[in-house]
């Protein structure tokens, strides 16, 4: 099990950084494989923006003396990672190099749920008691509008298209919901994080999210999902083996020489 940091700012920063980093890492595996060339280009911009957001958080951690941003991103073992289970899941069967059988319905459902959750958190972080977190949130929120519009467009259109598309989206959404138990969780550090007024409480954010996505779920005639208690809580360093596989790949080059300049 992962260590809990004294400073709740550190704890929250790791959750935010690891979320955006793993989400963008999964996005980067999709590059070149999207259903449509134009979409491949658009999707990659979102992935780059998101990795940029992760970098903002890792740099804040670097500033707090936690280590170099690159090292925080690349070589922390799974047990030290604080991302939600949802973002560590692979894009589908197979490895991205040889035989990816990626699921676009899953990409759209995961991205829509993740990005709407991110929006709710970012909005709350804008009034964080921590100045640097609040400033980061203001910056990141500038790019979120596009991400939301992009994923909402795909999410709604595919749900409302053919029967096959709706079935695929329904299945994908179920899979996403099953993994979202820790999406709004702050793990064992929850009370410290909210007591320090870094961000509003899990329940407040979750309720706000439900209200926020309601109109969209109405247009697709699906009830707004509720998230169960997480089987594993990523915020406490509880992860699937899929995360360690991802870490091994992302750090393959970096880990060959930690002291080298790349």
């Amino acid at each position: 099990m992962t260590q809990k940091f004294e400073n709740p700012v550190v704890e929250l920063l790791f959750q935010l950084a690891d979320d955006d980093y793993l989400f963008s890492y999964r996005g980067s595996e999709w590059l070149g494989l999207a259903p449509h060339i134009e979409e491949d280009v658009a999707f990659s911009s979102i992935t780059q923006d998101t990795m940029g957001h992760a970098t903002v958080y890792y740099r804040l951690l670097e500033g707090l003396g936690l280590g170099a941003a690159d090292s925080l991103a690349h070589i922390r073992p799974a047990a030290e990672r604080k991302n939600s289970i949802l973002v560590e899941r692979p894009n589908g069967e197979g490895c991205y190099m040889e035989n990816p059988r990626y699921d676009w319905a899953y990409a759209v459902a995961r991205s829509y749920i993740y990005t709407t959750a991110k929006k709710i958190k970012i909005d709350s972080l804008k009034s964080s008691s921590d100045q640097s977190l609040a400033e980061a949130a203001v910056k990141i929120s500038m790019e979120l509008y596009y991400h939301l519009l992009h994923w909402k467009t795909w999410f709604v259109q595919l749900f409302n298209a053919t029967e096959e598309a709706r079935n695929r989206m329904t299945k994908a959404l179920e899979k996403v919901v099953a993994d979202s138990g820790d999406l709004f969780s702050f793990g064992d550090a929850a009370s410290e994080i909210t007591n320090a007024s870094l961000i509003e409480s899990e329940q407040v954010l979750l309720n706000r999210w439900t209200e926020y996505v309601k109109p969209v779920f109405e247009t697709i005639k699906v009830a707004v999902p509720t998230f169960g208690k997480p089987e594993r809580n990523g915020r406490n360093g509880e992860h699937t083996n899929e995360l360690q596989d991802a870490i091994d790949t992302m750090s393959e080059v970096y880990a060959t020489d930690l002291a080298a300049a790349w």
Binding site: H36, I37, E38, E39, V41, Y146, T153, W154, Q157
Partner: protein, 115 residues
């Protein structure tokens, strides 16, 4: 079959700043205008500022056809439409010890008048 209609042609226009005109960027394929819109900026304007975007279905554009393109031809005898046809005024104003209100001078008034 269905792919016939997934690949619809859209022309993308954008303006760089709020006061600049819309300029044609390029064309893209998308199944409908909402998807076309979320593709537009990242496909053609990844590295430049954008203030606004239009996507237009290509079928809705009436362009010149190959033969009609000849309408752009014209003689170079229209100095009277241009400041070039009035350059002699500079000399005239000099006789009255006045400067010329040329384009540079007139546009410099955009800074406003003395208050």
């Amino acid at each position: 079959m269905g792919n016939e209609s997934f690949y619809q042609e859209f022309e993308v226009f954008s303006r760089r700043t709020k006061t600049s005109p819309f300029q044609h960027q390029f064309s893209l394929l998308a199944p409908n205008e909402d998807i076309a819109m979320v593709m537009a900026q990242e496909n053609f304007m990844r590295r430049e500022p954008v203030a606004d975007i239009w996507v237009v279905k290509r079928d809705h554009i009436r362009g010149l056809n190959s033969e009609e393109r000849q309408i752009v031809e014209r003689l170079d005898n229209k100095d009277y439409r241009l400041t070039k046809g009035y350059g002699y005024l500079r000399k005239k104003w000099r006789q009255y010890e006045q400067g010329m209100f040329d384009e540079k001078e007139i546009l410099s008034w955009a800074g406003g008048q003395k208050k």
